[in-house]
């Protein structure tokens, strides 16, 4: 992409995305606080500590803070419930008010996903791969921003936060490469005993509800979203608790990555509140329970609710290692196998 095109693309981005970058940059300049502190909170603290300026020229600049909203159908609405919850750092410091999604938001998200799914599954595998790779590109560019957010909400050292971003970027790249190989690896031509041509191919199952784990925030989100959408499904993701901060920012990455609106929808809030509505929703075809504790009553109840329309369920695993090679374990459960027969003759 040429420099001018890049600029044009930036200008076309939603306003919030650009302000986020600015907010982080100004924070970098103004604060000496550790990276572990989230940009806006630190910047606000600095602003308060400084004396009032005497002339306008010397006025310290107050940052423009970002409002964290949901990501539904390619747009960033607030929760229809009007609710929000405070995300705080591990030190207790205020980071942001995240939108607290409601049942209605979850239903809106499912509707958006259902609307987007046919188009996404009809896109060529090559095209889907390109878009997943584009997400990796956009994520890479916002490495610092994500690292700061992860460090802030997870309370991990900067190096660990950077390592997580890198792992997430690499994972998007890994899954991007699967899009145009799944049919070859998971499909087959079947040597039937008779004059028939017969071939089996994987197809998306439809709308998938994903409960992201609370941690690692960005890698967890990536690890549930990417495998679900690479084969042509649309997803509704619940980003619980403090993961709202990187989740909303990931939504901004997606909004600027040519991913059609509605293919991924992100609900921030509480897993225990939102998940039952998604598990019992009859227009949801599959459920990833990663964010429900393994062996918990919640996980069991969600699985029971999912049985109503025989959703495909990925059960949570105790001690699952999000940094390990994910294999195809989260791709296959969300794909169906279709076998097409035709007689052979002249």
């Amino acid at each position: 992409m040429s420099e001018t095109k890049k600029k044009a693309a930036k200008a076309a981005k939603p306003a919030k995305a650009t302000t986020t970058v600015k907010a982080v940059k100004s924070a970098e300049a103004q604060t000496t606080a550790k990276v572990a502190k989230v940009a806006e909170a630190s910047q606000a603290a600095v602003a308060e500590a400084e004396p009032k300026p005497t002339t306008p020229a010397a006025a310290p600049r107050s940052s423009v803070r970002k409002t964290y909203k949901l990501y539904i159908g390619g747009a960033f609405p607030r929760s229809e419930s009007g609710r929000s919850y405070a995300v705080t750092a591990s030190s207790g410091e205020f980071i942001a008010n995240a939108a607290q999604a409601s049942r209605k938001d979850a239903r809106d998200a499912v509707r958006a996903a259902r609307a987007a799914q046919p188009g996404w599954s009809k896109a060529t595998a090559y095209n889907r791969g390109q878009i997943l790779y584009r997400i990796a590109e956009m994520l890479e560019e916002r490495r610092d921003q994500f690292a700061q957010q992860i460090a802030g909400v997870e309370g991990v050292p900067s190096a660990a936060a950077y390592a997580q971003v890198d792992a997430a970027v690499d994972r998007w790249v890994w899954y991007a490469g699967w899009s145009d190989k799944l049919a070859q690896v998971l499909g087959s031509a079947n040597p039937v005993a008779g004059p028939y041509w017969n071939v089996s191919s994987p197809e998306p199952t439809g709308v998938v509800a994903l409960l992201a784990p609370a941690a690692p925030t960005l890698l967890g989100l990536t690890s549930v979203i990417a495998p679900a959408i690479v084969g042509g499904n649309a997803a509704v993701v619940v980003a619980p608790d403090a993961s709202a901060v990187p989740a909303v920012t990931l939504g901004e990455v997606m909004a600027t990555s040519d991913l059609p609106g509605g293919v991924v929808n992100i609900l921030t809030g509480g897993t225990a509140e939102l998940a039952p509505w998604l598990a019992s929703h009859l227009d949801v075809n599959a459920l990833d329970l990663a964010g429900a504790p393994a062996g918990s009553d919640l996980a069991r109840d969600l699985e029971v609710a999912a049985a109503e329309n025989l959703k495909r369920v990925v059960r949570p695993k105790a001690g699952y290692d999000w940094s390990a090679d994910p294999g195809l374990g989260r791709i296959k459960p969300f794909l169906e196998t279709k076998t097409v027969w035709h007689p052979i003759g002249i």
Binding site: A306, A307, L310, G327
Partner: protein
């Protein structure tokens, strides 16, 4: 049309015992849950008394299967396991006639079908999966696939031995041991299969067969010693099983109901399409989860298709399942017959037009004449609910897009049929059908190498082919 002279297959080849026990640990043993009778649905004659397994029997069978898994079967090299499975395949072929007659006696299906479809396909499944036993690493499911343990399998009454083969062959090939519950109304070929396991010297406990009813199946599915649950049957029971295993580590595959659309376009080869429609809905008395029970015909040819279909239906012979000329045998049970009657009455009550060819049904036994409904709307019960009998609902469409929309307008997604001369249209439709199997210019084809299973509420997992192995492996 002249009548064919009767051509009954002799039943002397079958040696029925008055009563059968459970098959546990390589032997027939007494059950502790009492007994029930299996009847011939064509005559209502009692064929044999069969033990009813209760929870204690399930405990015992699972324990025996576990022991056989730990000590023998999972440790045996794949190449050795394969030999036992090959032996089973061979013995099924050797005793094919006996199995076919017994299947027709117990199930009511025409001997023509049990002889030419059920039994050969069952043998073919054992052959196919026997060859996988020492090649699992090549199945593209992961570098080192391992068996799961004890498989609890519950199968339906429509294809008793074939469903057994679909379940047992891949389970054994992957190194699992099995506790299988055949359907209450069709336990006899499974018990003959137990004898086949004995003839094959299969190590005791590798295959265990518990006869019984719904409670037996429920106890098996819920048993904590079962690592894998495989079920073929109704969506309603599948839902119950999915709820029952929630929160456990059991791996589950479900092959459930269907309400398949069979689409006929105006350029279809009509002669073949008519045969395909007949095969799609009247094969096995319509007791087929993937039966083409919703015929969607392009409006411009609808009248011609229905006329030709009626003519063809007049030639169907309904009656004695053991007669080699019989096309439609007996409905499997009085209960199923009542269900078919209820739904067809609903069809009439809701305003659809019912037609059956003139045909005399036998006085005894459970029989139902082949039936079609025209003037069916998508809202009618006969267009939405699985009838599981020889009843076809005919709907029409104008454009391919409308055909797709109507075909997919169901909670099920097991199979679909498409009849058209145009290859590009076949591929276009095949892509859009939300169904696990799409038959183009053919219908009801099965093969051990081909994955079979449903989308949506028709269940999850695939049986058959390389894909069928995954259900029995820890991958």
């Amino acid at each position: 049309m002249f009548e064919y002279a009767p051509a009954p297959e002799s039943r002397s080849v079958v040696d029925l015992k008055p009563s059968y026990g459970l098959f546990v640990g390589g032997e027939f043993v007494e059950g502790s849950g009492g007994a029930f009778k299996s009847v011939n649905p064509a005559t209502e004659e009692v064929l044999a008394e069969v033990a009813l397994a209760d929870a204690a029997d399930v405990d015992r069978a699972v324990a025996v299967a576990r022991k056989a898994y730990d000590e023998v079967w999972s440790r045996m090299p794949g190449a050795e396991r394969a030999k036992y499975i090959y032996r089973i395949a061979r013995i099924i072929q050797e005793r094919a006639r006996e199995l076919a007659v017994l299947e027709s006696l117990d199930n009511g299906k025409p001997i023509r079908e049990s002889r030419d479809v059920d039994i050969p396909l069952a043998a073919a499944h054992f052959f196919y999966y026997a060859g996988w036993a020492d090649k699992l690493g090549y199945a593209n499911l992961g570098p080192d696939p391992k068996p799961l343990g004890v498989a609890g399998q519950v199968i339906p009454w429509n294809f008793p031995l074939l469903m057994l083969a679909w379940k047992v062959a891949p389970a054994l090939a992957c190194g699992n041991t099995v506790v299988l519950k055949p359907a209450e109304t069709t336990p006899l070929t499974a018990l003959l299969f137990a004898e086949i396991c004995q003839q094959a010297d299969l190590p005791p406990g590798v295959v265990n067969i518990l006869t019984g009813a719904g409670a037996t199946g429920a106890a098996l599915v819920a048993h904590p010693g079962v690592d894998k649950v495989a079920f073929t049957g109704s969506t309603e029971v599948g839902r119950m099983i999915a709820k029952q295993v929630a929160g456990t580590s059991k791996k589950v595959t479900l092959e459930l109901g269907g309400k398949a659309a069979n689409l006929v376009f105006d350029d279809a080869p009509l002669e073949q399409a008519i045969e395909g429609i007949v095969d799609g809905i009247f094969f096995n008395q319509g007791h087929v989860c993937c039966a083409g029970s919703r015929l969607l015909v392009q409006e411009s040819v609808a009248e011609e298709v229905v006329d030709r279909l009626r003519e063809r239906m007049k030639t169907l012979r309904v009656g004695d399942p053991l007669d080699k000329n019989t096309d439609l045998g007996a409905i499997n049970s009085a209960e199923q017959l009542a269900r078919i009657r209820t739904l067809t009455e609903a069809g009439e009550a809701e305003g659809a037009t019912r037609w059956s060819p003139p045909c005399e049904l036998p006085e005894r036994g459970f029989f139902f004449a082949p039936t079609i409904f025209t003037g069916v709307s998508q809202a009618h019960r006969i267009a939405r609910e699985e009838i599981f009998g020889p009843v076809l609902s005919v709907l029409t469409f104008r454009t391919p897009a409308e055909a797709v929309e109507k075909a997919n307008n169901t909670a099920y997604g097991l199979s679909a049929g498409v009849w058209t001369d145009k290859g590009s249209r076949i591929l276009w439709l095949a892509q859009r059908m939300r169904a696990g199997v799409v038959w183009a210019n053919t219908f009801n084809r099965f093969d051990p190498t081909s994955p079979f299973g449903g989308y949506k509420e028709s269940g999850y997992g695939r049986e058959g082919g390389r894909h069928g192995l995954e259900a029995y492996l820890d991958v």
